[in-house]
Amino acid sequence: MTQAVETLGAVAAEDLDAPVIQARSTRELFWRRFKDDRLALGALIYLGLLVLLAILAPVLVDLLGVPPPNERDIESLDAFGLPTGPSPDHWLGVDQLGRDVLSRILYGARISLLVAFSATAIASLIGVIAGLLSGYFRGWTDTIISRGVDVLLAIPYLLLATGLAAACSFGNGCLGGLLKPGLAVVIFVIAVTSWTYLARIVRGQTLSLREKEFVDAARSVGASNRRIIFREMLPNLTAPIIVYSTILIPSVILYEAALSFLGVGIQPPAASWGQMISDATDIFDAAWWYLLFPGLALVSTVLAFNLVGDALQDALQPKARRNRSWLPGQSKKDEIEKEESQ
């Protein structure tokens, strides 16, 4: 972090014994606001631990003496072949195949976080570029991109994802074998259907940013469009991009869980929280632990991301509390209200 604390008029202050005025960098201001939100700070710590747990899952499983996620412990099933609950051997119980629930939850965290970060990153990349282009060039570029977004938003994404996953499960995958069912399809489907939200927001911000003086200044010295978009405007959009990408993460995690629950997401034997809940559907009346623990892992992770996203928004963009420009009809209303208030 850059320590840009400048003491303005420090010499004069010594003479006059007056209070020292300090200028604070944007990052400091942000951190001051963020750290006051205790709940969000707790959530951030939780997420940090979760990332660590996910990365260290194989080591951790060894260290705790927990069986690996796909090892079947036949002895942990009772006389009727039903799984047994929490015990010293299996802290969170086992599933119907005798696999350790704790171990599968730890490995499930890897999948959830991997999908969350990579799908969000791809969706953000597409969304930011599409939003920048349509907001900057306006005209027919904007028409094509914005109407394309409208069309994509009109497709029921959960059904489309189901169809894609079903289509890719036969023969040798999709696009001549390029996309195989499982992780790649999940990330692809989520990214393709999630970028629209960010595109709408970035477009709205770009539309107002392009009228600013510094853009005129850059143009007057002969900067190319590419330079203006990526060197002049993009850095000014860092805060909203961080905020709205973070807000996207929880819905991506829920999306992956939903696909895996429907059986078209992460394919067994890989462990995923949504798929564990799906497996639990048939036996949860006899094995509550198999429903409860993966669900709690999912809810707490999504909640933590939501809390951090909310706090980021409050800290980075205190004025933009209600940006509704991703809702159809709302962007127009926002523009009108902005004009009226000026």
């Binding site: 497709i155 289509a167 939903a258 949860f284 999912l298 909640l303 209303k333």
Partner: protein
């Protein structure tokens, strides 16, 4: 206003065209498996497969197939033919629309009844203990996957397996024709579960918009002229803050009718449109999935249109949109 409606309707029709095209392309390009082979079943001779290919028109150029497909949709309202049920997709969808509509509209009423009052009260008592706790609870509800909430609710309350067996559980759906009580009973749990997250979203939206609106000058004016606070909140505050909620409502209902209730229908075993798709996955009944996806897109476009028009009616400034 009439001109605005006309423009929106025209754009809606254009959207339907574009969406149909996109869905056709996706389902045509992506699968590597040969549809005729899938259709023919396991023990088909090459001769039979060839005949099926011909009868489905799969031997013709893609472009002709596309034109045929579009013709069938727009002139005959034909969304394709299911391998698995050997009947038209549209008739299957109409059979399943009742349960999905029952689920969607019941849940929508419930989430409005919960979300709107909570949003208003939280805004009026902003930063109070009540406000802060309801906002954290609502965030937790938004964070919980609907299928997990559904299974937990079954574990707690279902009359066959629940700890407190007071409500009908999964697979007990009855159509409305069986009588309103027989119909509503099994839907109480699905409605509540489906409504929970939306109620929380609506409450949070309404709250933050209300807080903004209540700081406006005209609210001060309304108070200054001596209006009772209740009237200031309800007539001046809510009326202005409610428009995003209306937009959301239209989108949510469209999306749910379009098959996004698949998760709830799967957990509670409700024979709706989503369930139809779920059953089609194992059978690789791609025309059925494609048909339902397209049909769902139609719902979304129509509800978007309804929202646009309702919006223009509520906020006349929006009518002077360029498109």
């Amino acid at each position: 206003m009439l001109e605005y409606i006309l423009r929106r309707v025209l754009w809606g029709v254009a959207m339907l065209f574009l969406v149909s095209g996109v869905i056709f392309v996706i389902f045509y390009l992506l699968p590597s498996a040969d549809p005729a082979t899938l259709r023919a079943g396991r023990q088909a001779s090459p001769d039979q497969i060839e005949r099926i290919r011909e009868s489905l028109g799969l031997d013709r150029p893609v472009f002709i197939q596309y034109v045929d497909y579009m013709k069938q949709i727009f002139f005959h309202f034909d969304f394709g033919y299911s391998y698995q049920y050997e009947t038209s997709v549209s008739s299957l969808i109409f059979d399943r629309l009742g349960p999905t509509a029952s689920l969607t509209f019941g849940a929508a009423i419930l989430w409005l009844l919960m979300g709107i009052p909570i949003g208003i009260i939280s805004a009026v008592r902003a930063r109070s203990l009540l406000d802060r706790s309801t906002m954290v609870i609502s965030l937790a509800l938004i964070s919980a996957p609907v299928f997990w909430l559904g299974l937990i609710s079954l574990y707690l309350f279902a009359d066959d397996i629940g700890l407190i067996p007071i409500l009908p559980g999964a697979g007990s759906y009855e159509p409305l024709s069986a009588g309103p009580i027989a119909w509503a009973g099994p839907l109480i749990l699905p409605w509540t579960v489906l409504a929970a997250a939306s109620a929380a979203v609506y409450a949070r939206y309404l709250r933050s918009d209300m807080i903004d609106v209540m700081g406006e000058d005209y609210i001060r004016t309304a108070r200054a002229k001596g209006l009772p606070e209740r009237k200031v909140v309800m007539k001046h505050g809510v009326r202005s803050a409610i428009t995003p909620v209306i937009t959301l409502l239209g989108l949510d209902i469209g999306v749910l009718l379009a098959g996004n209730a698949i998760l709830t229908e799967s957990v509670f075993n409700i024979p709706g449109v989503g369930r139809l798709v779920l059953d089609a996955i194992d059978k690789a009944d791609l025309p059925l999935i494609q048909g339902v996806t397209l049909f769902g897109a139609f719902f979304i476009v129509i509800f978007n249109l309804v929202v646009d028009i309702a919006y223009a009616y509520l906020d006349p400034r929006v009518r002077y949109d360029d498109l």
